[in-house]
Symmetry: C2
Subunit: 205 residues, 2 copies
DNA sequence: GTCTATATGCCGATAGAC
DNA sequence: GTCTATCGGCATATAGAC
């Protein structure tokens, strides 16, 4: 959409910048209070304008969360694809996939939180059907990585792949609930500890 | 509250049973659609009555979720206490604490889901301050168990206890998102696999 | 214990002036 | 691009009849 202005003036600060600014404000509120819980008046207040003025930039509150989620997902899955297409060994690919998830939490925590909290409900509407598709796509990525790990002998052979996938997916993304950028731990610190536990467990050898 | 009728006729089916029935209906809706997203009309419809009639049983929608959460938490923490006070060794206590959590998900999944999804927001109100207290209490339990594990040599000495606590807490409770009682896997199956991964990791030895 | 009827307020969204 | 003003709808909750 609007491919024209984007390709012609990629670095021009203008109406597009105001949109992004408003979307960032909305994303923070959606992440903190929930989508339904956030009113268009909340968003307008935080932006220093009146609620009616928002409708100059966006069709509806729904189209705001739509734009937030779809653009984030596009970026995230491009990163997964890069891991899948690399020629690293199975274990390294798993480590990279975990690390890029924590990096996504670091760089886009509002978007991750919104997806975690709202995807199930929003996904019931046709407009957000792509959320379920992306979910299935994410599962494909992880099942592939774990299958490779099993076949190459990097992973223990008694693992239930489906359950292991859920374990990793949940464990990684749920960190968005407490991780804060600029805190004591960097996303790399967190990824290091998580990978240690995930790969080798907490029990003394 | 109403200690009289409860102590005098503990097994009397009456108005208290209707309350419990309505609370169970509300809990399912709160868990599936979110607290704010669920209207009193939704609850009344599901119960086959009109919305106004709910107010014969409850002060407000808030008091419904309050009763759901507080009675569940009381039961859960009694179970934690039993583990803490037992004379099992450190590793066994950790295993028992994990297992009882999956059992709670099996037996009270609506309540667990509501707590996971709504505690942060509700906790901002004075009325729900006990949610934050219970959260702190849960942390105490786990830090104690993990500390014992470290001191007794059951756990590897390089663990970051705080991060390990978050890892376990998140990993266990987030399963409420996909676990369904009566499905292919029992809560014991899930706990077995989770403990295997948690204790020994997914990497081939 | 449930129903009828309704008060009261906040919500998302729109129309048109500036 | 923002403001003024406002509509129609749905939310929680209440009062009183049955």
């Amino acid at each position: 959409m609007s491919a024209q202005s984007r390709t012609e003036r990629p670095d021009r600060p203008e109406s597009t910048d105001r949109r992004r600014e408003l979307l960032a404000i909305a994303a923070e509120l959606f992440a903190d209070k929930g989508f339904r819980n956030t009113t268009v008046r909340d968003i307008a207040d935080a932006a220093g304008i009146l609620s009616g003025s928002l409708y100059h930039h966006f069709d509806s509150k729904e189209s705001m969360v739509d734009e937030i989620l779809s653009s984030f997902q596009a970026e995230l899955f491009a990163a997964y694809d890069a891991v899948l297409l690399s020629d690293d060994d199975a274990r390294t690919k798993i480590e990279r996939a975990v690390r890029l998830s924590f990096e996504a939490i670091d760089r886009h925590r509002h978007e991750v939180a919104i997806f975690q909290n709202e995807a199930d409900l929003l996904g019931q509407q046709e407009r957000f059907a792509y959320l379920a598709e992306r979910n299935a796509q994410s599962r494909e990525v992880w099942i592939t990585l774990l299958d490779d790990g099993l076949r190459s002998g990097a992973l223990r052979p008694d693992l239930d792949i489906e359950l292991t996938y859920r374990f990793i997916r949940d464990t990684v993304w749920v960190a968005v609930r407490w991780y804060r950028p600029g805190g004591k731990l960097t996303h790399t610190d967190v990824a290091d500890q998580y990978l240690t536990i995930l790969l080798d467990g907490i029990a003394h050898a």
